[in-house]
């Protein structure tokens, strides 16, 4: 009987030690930096429009030319028509711009614009910046795309 108690005591001791080590590791571990904002829908910088950005075919394929849709609505939810859109961006971590020059090539109605010529050549965080000019004024929005 005495030996069983000893085992239990040793087990409890070990468990306490382990808990202590885990607590120290947890408390002293560097807090991981928050990841980039990868939301696909957001207000533009000055709040003029609500922009959403989605791959036209639903999936992102690395290394292939593809088109995305940029949908622009007013804050009230009305589609933004006749917008002039320019696209820029790059990979901030690698100090380079986009490997292609994407353009808004088509207006599809209901505030949807086709952005053609996007290509993500490597994994990592890509930044896409849209400068939007419409009747309501000019504004910008940045989307992060993580591959």
């Amino acid at each position: 009987m005495a030996s069983l108690w000893r085992y239990l005591l040793a087990g409890l001791g070990l468990a306490a030690l382990l808990a202590g080590i885990l607590a120290i590791v947890y408390l002293t571990a560097p807090q991981s930096a928050p990841g980039p904002d990868i939301s696909r829908s957001k207000k533009t910088a000055n709040g003029l429009f609500v922009a959403s950005f989605q791959p036209e075919r639903g999936v992102i394929k690395q290394g292939e030319l593809q088109s995305w849709l940029l949908t622009l609505k007013t804050v009230k939810g009305d589609p933004v028509e006749g917008a002039a859109i320019s696209v820029s961006g790059g990979m901030p971590q690698h100090n380079h711009g986009l490997p292609t020059s994407p353009q808004a090539t088509d207006y599809l109605g209901e505030g949807r614009y086709r952005i053609e010529g996007l290509k993500f050549t490597m994994s990592g965080v890509w930044q896409l910046r849209f400068a939007i000019s419409a009747a309501a004024g000019s504004d910008t929005v940045v989307f992060n795309v993580v591959l």
Partner: protein, 399 residues
């Protein structure tokens, strides 16, 4: 107490065993699987070249590829620099055709999958690429009028079976080209627009035949690919395919700390893009600004995707249409080369600047500043052991 000791000893043994095993995280396994040759998709049709998959065109292209008659002095063919028994390259720092060029010959495995051609991407299709050395005075040094006459004389029947009737070339000068010497340029200017179009069309078809042949040159399976397949399936590698601890470390560094996979990604180990990596210029060679100067060249090429000699519609021209035309990072940016087979084909870089893989890895570890433009590479401070491991891993792409 005895039992407890035994339990602790067992736990310790298990811990040690786990450390000795090839330990790749799920993310690493995913990256490795994406590099393996079995991830290479089937070759897409080339909509700009309707002869790309016509066997007779490939056969004629193969004849032309090895034909020294396809040069000004009768001594140079495509295969002079793209040697069939040397991965279709020539082991020289700068290629030598009729003269000495300023660039390293590129190997051809998987070349039909490139969106851009040459180190700087100054051509946008395989068939437009094949035409360029034919008229370069340092390479094959010919001119398009002479090539059209030569095709008619030597391969007329074969040509016509593939491409249809040859035009009437009887009034076309023996030597004429918009890119030739003064006499050839003058002769070209004296031709009618219809004659120019006839000659350009025969010339474009030469490129399309050579491209059809080159589409058959594909990368072969390596020890790395067999290792990657075994890793993905959990199978125990066969004796020769198993990676040594050094090769394993090299692979881990390649996809991790050393950041190689950032640009050398996918089953061809290239992102098909252009980067300034601070590789120094070679003394005594002409000014070379890489992609920065190639943009205007591909735009001006009459055989580019927007030109009159493309088959199919302009839907195939996305790369040219959405090309980056002016950005600071184009300065001294060169194409990311595939690393398949690289270990057995020194020297390295666009003008053969480095004579060994050790030098290449040392360059990327130190990451010196570029002479012009900004290098995208950051210093790594790899140890001697780590650099050697990277080289050991790169060799598994040649075994």
């Amino acid at each position: 107490m005895n039992r407890l000791l035994r339990f602790l000893a067992l736990a310790a043994v298990l811990q040690v065993a786990a450390c000795g095993k090839p330990d790749f995280s799920d993310a690493e396994k995913k990256t490795i699987a994406a590099l393996a040759l079995n991830a290479l998709p089937a070759l897409k049709p080339d909509a700009t070249n309707r002869f790309a998959d016509v066997p007779a065109a490939a056969a004629l292209g193969s004849t032309l590829f090895f034909d020294q008659g396809m040069s000004h002095d009768g001594n140079v063919s495509c295969s002079t620099c793209h040697k069939i028994d040397r991965q279709f390259q020539d082991d020289l720092p700068q290629a030598i055709g009729v003269g000495r060029t300023n660039r390293r010959s590129m190997p051809l495995a998987g070349v039909a999958r490139n969106p851009w051609f040459f180190w700087d991407g100054r051509r946008d299709s395989l068939w437009a690429q094949a035409l360029t050395p034919l008229e370069n005075p340092l390479e094959q040094a010919g001119n398009r009028a002479a090539f059209a006459h030569y095709i008619q004389k030597r391969f007329g029947a074969r040509y016509e079976r593939i491409f249809g009737p040859l035009p009437d070339l009887s009034a076309v000068p023996a030597n004429a080209s918009p890119l030739g010497n003064e006499a050839e340029q003058a002769a070209w200017k004296a031709m009618t627009a219809a004659q120019m179009d006839d000659v350009n069309r025969v010339f474009a078809n030469i490129g399309k035949a050579i491209a059809a042949f080159e589409r058959s040159i594909e990368p072969a399976q390596t020890r790395f690919d067999r290792f990657a397949i075994d890793l993905a399936s959990g199978a125990k590698p066969k004796a020769d395919d198993a990676f040594s601890p050094e090769e394993m470390l090299g692979l881990k560094l390649f996809i991790g700390k050393a950041n190689c996979v950032t640009c050398h990604n996918g089953p061809r180990f290239t992102d098909n893009s252009f980067h300034n990596t601070g590789v120094p210029p070679v003394k005594d060679l002409p000014l070379d600004r890489g992609r920065f100067d190639a943009v205007a060249q591909v735009e001006a090429d009459p055989f580019n995707c927007f030109g009159a000699f493309r088959d199919g519609d302009a839907g195939a021209c996305g790369e040219l249409r959405f090309m980056v035309k002016d950005a600071p990072e184009l300065m001294r940016a060169y194409k990311t080369p595939s690393l398949r087979g690289a270990a057995t084909r020194p020297p390295y870089m666009h003008a053969g600047q480095f004579s060994s893989l050790e030098e290449v890895v040392a360059h990327y570890s130190a990451a010196p500043a570029a002479v012009e433009g900004t290098s995208e590479v950051h210093p790594l401070q790899l140890s001697d052991r780590e650099r050697a491991a990277l080289v050991a891993f790169l060799k598994t792409l040649s075994d």
